[in-house]
Symmetry: C2
Subunit: 228 residues, 2 copies
């Protein structure tokens, strides 16, 4: 890659373990990275703070937060106070699933990519989430990419927009090992669905359980601050 004229990428960052690993990978590959986070009525504000802080420290070109009140359409334990965040494993599509969330996030990333003339969008979907979330599957990513290429000026003008998912086939443990090799400080990332304002994790929700198992699988110590 020509480093004096870097390819531009929009990178979706939540502030969690996966998305920050993706950002480290995109930077390592020489992309000029523009990170995008969403304030969508989720319960965990600490993740948003982490997203901005880590993005800046890792040297992104720009970081933006888009406000989007998805709680007005409801339907998820992450945005709707009528549901509690579950603290034990459940079957099927979890109640923490936010309807069409990745579709919405990728769509807004696509809008920003058009403004920037960026042809790459990175998102940290991965295999661990397949079984539960329809919009984490490879067939979803392919279908979104096909749509993106007819939805935009870039597509009309014959350029090709790529949705890049470097974690899609990795386990949580593998993701952690790749990130550590790239110098990611996981102590700064926040995965918990109900983290405290200072970023302390509950240790009980789905996201905390997956994260904990990931560090065990990777065989490295877990820097997360758990309240239990």
């Amino acid at each position: 890659m020509n480093m004096t004229n870097k390819a531009k990428a929009v990178v979706l960052v939540s502030g969690g373990l996966d998305s920050i690993t993706v950002l480290a990978m995109a930077l390592k590959h020489g992309y000029q990275c523009h990170t995008l986070s969403f304030d969508y009525g989720q319960r965990y504000g600490a993740e948003l703070v982490a997203a901005e802080k880590i993005s800046r420290e890792m040297g992104v070109t720009d970081h933006k937060v888009v406000n989007l009140n998805l709680n007005s359409i409801g339907g998820s334990a992450l945005t709707d106070d009528a549901f509690a965040v579950p603290e034990s494993e459940t079957e099927g599509i979890p109640i923490t699933y936010v309807p069409a969330r990745n579709t919405v996030f990728l769509s807004i990333a696509l809008g920003w990519a058009e403004v920037l003339n960026a042809d790459n969008i990175f998102i940290g979907v991965n295999a661990v989430d397949y079984s539960g979330y329809p919009d984490c599957r490879p067939e979803f990513i392919s279908a979104f990419e096909a749509m993106a290429n007819v939805a935009t000026k870039a597509g009309v003008e014959g350029r090709k927009i790529a949705i890049r998912t470097p974690l899609i086939d990795l386990s949580k443990g593998e993701i952690i090992l790749r990130g550590l090799a790239l110098g990611v400080d996981y102590g700064l990332t926040v995965s918990c669905y109900q983290a405290t304002e200072s970023g302390e994790a509950c240790g009980k929700c789905d996201s905390c359980r997956l994260r904990r198992q990931g560090f065990v699988e990777a065989g490295v110590s877990d820097p997360t601050r758990y309240s239990v």
Copy 2:
């Protein structure tokens, strides 16, 4: 259609001529309609007021407004104060094109459709806009529909989500004649990109020009309040 157990639809309404005609069509066909508007940093707040007022008057089940600060990603004369709304015809993709707007709006409609278990989403894209806006073309709608059916619980469970575009092959004049036949009061709709707070139209922007030509083509009087 069984009127005691109506099929549910999410209908995107901007408060303009096209989307209100679509709503009249969906209601006429017996759908239980849930209307959705966006406050996305556009300049014309009068359109949003019209969207809610007309929706309620036409008997929708529910109307929601999602806030979304697209102006933070910029790039359009409709959301970015750095650009002026053009008052003469331009070639190619107009500067009033909001990057990936229909993709974003349909994605959020898809999220609400999931929450409601609605399998139909109506949007007022039409032929007049083809040449300028990539995301008004039939190939975009097909690609979005394909994506929607792998993105959602409905798709995973084998139901079929349909993106319905009843205006897609109609001219502005034809749209107006269909709407009048369904009792639409176009005096209440707002199309202008820079309408005053009370809903008075500039008469000069692309949207005003198309609307004026439409009434001429339809051969009916134009109830719009123009300031010039």
